[in-house]
Amino acid sequence: MAAELKRQHLIDPEVCIRCNTCEETCPYDAITHDRKNYVVNVERCNACGDCLPPCPTGAIDTWRNVATPYSVEAQLSWESLPAVEEPAAAPGEAVAIPHEVARLTAKAELATGATVPPWSAAHPYVGLYTPDRPAVATVAGNFRLTDENTESDIRHLVLDFGSTAFPVLEGQSIGILAPGNDAEGRAHHVRLYSVASPREGERPRHNNLALTVKRVLEDHEGRPVRGVASNYLCDLKKGEQVRVCGPYGQTFLMPNHPGAKLLMICTGTGSAPMRAMTERRRRRLALNEGGQIMLFFGARTPSELPYFGPLQKLPPALIDVQLAFSRVPGRSKEYVQHRLLAMGDQVAAWLKDSQTFIYICGHKRMEADVLATLAGLAKREGLDWPTLRSMLCREGRLHIETY
């Protein structure tokens, strides 16, 4: 991709009925109109999405990846949307991505990280199985990763696909279709889970993969709610069958070339793709391909940190593990961004290294803090963060998935 592309929010003038609800809703006054069109000012829009639900037409839900954003004046003159200038590149675009999956993915990746994979990433398969035609996997194992005496129940689940082809790459997700219907008699929504095992399987040369699943018992605001898919998965017993769609994801992928460095920052089950990539590297350690891994991993306590034990056993030649705990009695709260700062010199050196690929995965609220810390470190090194960040995105070297 030659030019840096920005994701711009637009309004389709052929679908819009000029009802003014978007302009009224926008908290940033980014939407304006003349007698002809309603348009979004790219300088003001921060992609918060508040204008999307009230739009009666769907015209508002228009996004383009553009090299040079369209000005307000240009948009006001439109009769219809201009032809798509972005390369038809988005790999696998022709594949039918279910609506819910597209929504979830768009939400997780909203206007932050790269929209292209690392140049040396393997080509991903996407959407081979749909909610209507799912693959069926068998549970080969279900292990609790967190201490029995902690309230957080995180599990390592191994699914076996038998003779069904289900190729995945590290960083991709699969969709789980929980059986049964909700209270109103409809099928449950698809839920996406990041694969926690490398491409050749949790158990090499077996057609299987692993997931990291946290049992959801409360929502983002802490209100009690029982996550349908997570509780279903956590309660599965060996031998039971699961309907799966996917795989999904074509940018949050690992580089394959020797010497590539991986800077990983995650919390909770955001560790799944990090584990997959680390495990890929670990199995190839003997090949001496070079390239280190630096992992920043946050949890409340060591006993709630998934893969805490196995992480301790990884060779330092492979990975530098930096753990941050926010709820250890007698110690001040430490979050991943604090660890990043503590390791500032090394992180800053990595930021300047063109072989560095950055992955951020976990809670939404971590994202801003982590990016601010990276920006601070870049500045300390005399680097302009907006420039650096856009370069990282352009080169597929900054990948963010938060929820």
Binding site: I17, P53, T57, E184
Partner: protein, 474 residues
């Protein structure tokens, strides 16, 4: 501001704190459901429709999409969040804090305004109740149902105001709203246009484009009201109304799209040839537009209206986007051009702006309609055809006000009785037009299939694909 869905009547007005009101509304609720089952969309009780329901009145919760059986739709009471320190923006009380209780001296006037607005809501559901039998697609059927449930919710909004602020009189009016019937000569709906039939989907789309737009302008004028509960109710209703306008505008645009496709594909222009191809020719569309536009203009009432000026001076009903108008907002010394017919010519004379508020709202409405018609014409233009649809002159085919009893052509010429008789058949839909349109009305409900006279939508609802199962018949 989240909505309390735990109680029988979802609301964001803390209904549980006022037991008397809660009981009154809870006793009205089963009557409403009875009315819905009797007069709501025919045969639809067991269907699952993919509908939008508000789960809160802020942007995030505004549009929650899911399958719902319509009698289980969570009709309730949602007011837009209050604006701190809001003051009355016009009339003799301009600058005073808005009222949260009904001022005693305006009680009966306000009640009449609310009842008149409220009466149109169930009326349109009644007018449209047979349309499901001839839906051109599942997508359109779903849109019809969405329009219907939201008109039902608008009735709730008005009934809440009647119950909460008008005591026993209000409760009786609430009953009356469920007792009148569109088109019933014994107990008709209050406004004429709401007793007309909506016999086919072309009429439905014209109705939602034109007549629901009158709703938008009336609601927008009430959203300026000094009576804050009314302003907040109507402000939220406006957000819902936008969808109805969209259904109308896009419905006609899709019919035009299909027609011009056939005109190009078969290289034909003659209406009878196009009709044989199963599409609606543009002259017929123009006649329907003329009819619906003119009867909707009558809904604004007489150009000169004491009622309207009283409503304004009292601070009860403002103008469209009052805040955007730069004048004194009292209007005792401002003027507005009033149409009149003299010596066979339509002219305008300056008249008191306060006395001509209906005319002003009608003119604002016409501007909005024109913009929509321009967008329809884009569809024709894009197909490379020279034809265009036009809005008729506002004096055309009017029954109320200055133009009543006069004969005005669509291009604004005053005609004699004889000229009108000779020419008006080409301007208004004939029996043959109705019969032809009716002949196209066939039910198409296979997912992704559309009746031959209408193109699929450019986008699905909630970004769903065109072949999405928008309604499940179970």
């Amino acid at each position: 501001m989240t909505i309390d869905y735990a109680s029988r009547i979802p609301n964001n007005v803390n209904l549980h704190e006022n037991k008397t009101l809660q009981r009154a509304l809870e006793s009205w609720q089963p009557k409403y459901l009875e009315w819905w089952k009797e007069m709501g969309p025919e045969g639809s009780v067991g269907y699952d429709a993919y509908l939008r329901t508000a789960v809160s009145v802020d942007a995030k919760g505004w549009a929650h999409f899911d399958y719902v059986k319509m009698p289980d739709y969570r009709w309730g009471i949602f007011l837009a969040p209050p604006e701190a320190n809001r003051t009355i923006g016009f009339g003799t009380h301009k600058g005073q804090p808005v009222w949260n209780e009904v001022p005693g001296e305006y009680r009966s006037t306000l009640r009449r305004i609310i009842v008149t607005q409220g009466d149109t809501e169930p009326a349109s559901v009644e007018q449209q109740r047979h349309l499901g039998a001839t839906a051109p697609s599942l997508y359109d059927l779903r849109n019809l149902y969405q329009v219907n449930v939201e008109e039902g919710r608008h009735l709730w909004a008005m009934v809440y105001l009647l119950h909460a602020y008008f005591g026993r009189d209000g409760r009786e009016e609430g009953e009356g709203l469920l007792e009148r019937r569109s088109g019933d000569s014994d107990k008709p709906r209050i406004l004429g246009a709401f007793n007309e039939k909506t016999p086919d989907w072309l009429s439905f789309f014209m109705f939602t484009f034109l007549t629901d737009r009158d709703g938008k302008y009336q609601l927008a004028a009430l959203a300026e009201s000094g009576f804050d509960p009314l302003a907040r109710s109507t402000r939220f209703m406006l957000t819902e109304e936008a969808h109805h306008l969209f259904v109308g505008e896009s419905g006609i645009a899709r019919i035009i799209q299909r027609t011009v496709e056939m005109m190009k594909e078969h290289r034909v222009e003659a209406p009878d040839q196009l009709r044989r191809l199963g599409v609606i020719d543009l002259p017929t569309l123009q006649r329907y537009l003329n009819f619906h536009f003119s009867v909707t203009l009558d809904l604004y009432g007489s150009e000169v209206s004491t009622n309207a000026s009283n409503f304004y001076s009292m601070g009860l009903k403002g103008r469209f986007q009052e805040n955007n108008i730069t004048d004194d907002h009292v209007l005792t010394s401002t003027q507005y051009p009033l149409p009149e017919i003299s010596a066979g010519q339509i002219t305008h004379k300056p008249s008191s702006a306060l006395g001509t508020l209906n005319e002003r709202l009608r003119d604002d409405y016409i501007v909005d309609c024109q913009a929509g018609v321009d967008r329809w014409n884009k569809v024709i233009e894009k197909a490379g055809l020279p034809d265009r649809l036009t809005l008729p002159h506002k004096g055309f085919h009017r029954q109320i006000g200055v133009f009543a009893g006069q004969h005005v052509s669509p291009d604004g010429k005053v005609l004699t009785e004889a000229e009108w008789k000779a020419k008006s058949p080409q301007w208004l839909p004939s029996e043959a037009d109705h019969a032809f349109v009716q002949s196209l009305m066939k039910r198409v409900v296979a997912p992704g299939q559309y009746a031959g006279y209408i193109a699929p939508p450019m986008r699905g609802i909630d970004n769903r694909p065109a072949d999405f199962t928008y309604v499940r018949f179970n």
